[in-house]
Amino acid sequence: MSERKIKWSYMDHWRSNGPSGPVDQWHSHKTMSAFLKQVKAVGFDAIDTFDFRIWQMYGDYGGPAKYQEMVQDHGLERIVNTFHAADYDPRNYAPHIPETHENILEDFRVTMGRWSEIELDNIIVMPATLYYDMEPITEDKLKHTAELWNKVGEITAGYGVRLTCHHEFFCGIQSEPDIDTFYSYTDPEVVSLFVDTAQHCIAGLDPVALYNRHAHRVSGFHFKDTHNRATGDDHRHRPDSEIMAPTTGKWFYEMGTDQGLVDFRATMTAVRDNGYTGWISVEHDKANKEGGDYSESTAISRWYAKNVLEEIYR
């Protein structure tokens, strides 16, 4: 069998019900083991994780390398990407505010040191603060933001890790012109784009067109679906529009969902035609909302990848 061009990683959102009520997989070694078994069983090759989990990796497992050993003991290859979910604050941590940049740069120097015991492909960031903390979005703010990430990208590149930007529909850089302007000011050598199919759809963009325009600097994907586009001021709700937008109780669904807005066949065709090889991450955060189930969504998303998308490109 020829080497696969695409491998599948699972972004580690998860909830399950245990004897003590709803828990996530980091609740105990036992729940982590059950999570990893399920992800492996349906055919994922690896996992992605969040930066803020590093404390549990140290506290519960002895560090990222030891935690990764557990991942590997369950049959998965490794941890591919980490998501740096920063708690943006205009007072001390805001990419469009140059006065906060040194603080952010120092954060990444420390962060990359913590991760250096394992090999990561990407560190993923939301490149701007929440929309309501950045608006109005001006060219200067986009330029300041780009300057920051160029510097951060050099730091992460020093550790062999690609810095890549993930544009949530509620972040300051989510519209098509703002995204394009932002990338025009960043260095493609050190700042990449991470395409989240659902987030772009919610923001009213065509993720395939966006991908095709920036394919040369796309370093990964979150494949997930949505049923709704953001309307009105959906993108302006504290603390987080993914949870608080008044129009929509559940934004994200697994690939293959009925009424999904993402055209995955077209996306996979574009992935093939752009010659992308490597990892695609599957995500369906908050899958348990409104009666959903993480286990089932994970199985069905991998079913869809195998039976629909791998028929296009594998």
Partner: protein
């Protein structure tokens, strides 16, 4: 699963009550989950009424038009077929049975039960499945001990139905469960002796036997030629005090904790503290070139998708079965 053994998955875990598993899209989600876990055949369990539209032959056919229509429905989810169907003639059902409570232990019920078997025989054969898996007798607490003669009467009913299944080109497998009136290893041997090996096989359920105090590996090795069907699942508990005789044992023992606060009897393969030696059992199947289906079952142990995925992981990583 790509293996010399044939693996299937039981859907009973998803169908917890009459209106919980009715919409076709919900059934498709379960089928895709099973498929993603590497299983391309399923076992159905009998039910009753218009809500049980994946559990009752006539309702399945009304929903899908034909046997082929039902198979097409399964194949939409990349599940290729049905390995088997479970049927308990003692369970109350509408349709032909009209909620008559009958028992294979009562000779006066024999003709009706044989008649009731016919839609199941036709359906199992019609969808190209291999085994009609049956509960051979009702619960022990419901009647006095059967004795040797009583077991023979039960066997006669199944011999008659075995003629029907053989004529239809399918197998008939008697399934042991831990509450049944045929309970001890000797009683089970008696039932197998009372039935025709040419037409009536045994469905060995590893957890049910273990709960009932019978070692599934030893019993398989002793009766390998009669075993035509397998349900593979684990348990952490055995019936240690003839709990199967508790009045209303379905509710008081299996669901009510047996007075020991047991919240759940059946577990996924590889569970901590599991009493079934699954690797030894599967090795015994391989040594005997077991030709039948091995149906992995969750059986009301927890979240259906989670258990299917954990069972799949165990098959792949512990038993070395390639998906």
């Amino acid at each position: 699963m790509k293996d010399s053994l044939r693996w299937s998955y039981a859907l009973n875990q998803w169908n917890l009550r009459l209106d919980a598993f009715v919409r076709h899209e919900d059934q498709q989600r379960a089928l895709k989950t099973v498929s993603a876990c590497g299983f391309d055949h399923i076992e159905l369990a009998s039910g009753t009424g218009r809500w049980d539209n994946i559990s009752r032959p006539e309702v399945i056919l009304l929903n899908h038009g034909s046997h082929q229509g039902f198979l097409d429905f399964l194949r939409t989810a990349k599940v290729q077929g049905v390995s088997s169907m479970f049927w308990d003639p003692q369970a109350p059902a509408e349709e032909e049975e009209g909620y008559a409570f009958r028992s294979t232990a009562n000779p006066a019920d024999s003709d009706a039960i044989v008649e009731w078997a016919k839609p199941f025989v036709d359906f199992v054969a019609g969808v190209g499945a291999e085994q009609l898996v049956v509960r051979p007798v009702g619960s022990a607490w419901m009647s006095p001990p059967l004795g040797e003669d009583g077991i023979k009467l039960v066997g006669e009913v199944w011999n008659r139905i075995g003629e029907l299944t053989s004529a239809a080109g399918i197998g008939l497998a008697l399934h042991y469960d831990c509450l049944g009136a045929v309970h001890t290893a000797d009683e089970l041997r008696g039932l197998l002796s009372a039935t025709d090996p040419a037409t009536v096989g045994f469905a060995l359920d590893t957890a049910e036997l273990t709960v009932g105090g019978i070692d599934p590996v030893a019993f398989y090795r002793e009766n390998a030629e009669r075993v035509t069907h397998v349900h593979l699942k684990d348990t952490r508990y055995a019936d240690t005090g003839e709990e199967y005789r508790m009045p209303g044992a379905e509710a008081t023992m299996l669901k009510g904790g047996a007075g020991r606060r047991i919240e759940r009897w059946f577990f996924e393969l590889g569970t901590e503290g599991g009493l079934v030696d699954v690797p030894a059992f599967v090795a015994a199947l391989r040594e005997n070139d077991y030709p039948g289906w091995v149906v992995v079952e969750s059986d009301h142990g927890g979240n259906p998708a989670e258990l299917a995925m954990l069972n799949s992981w165990y098959l792949q990583r512990v038993l070395g079965v390639t998906k």
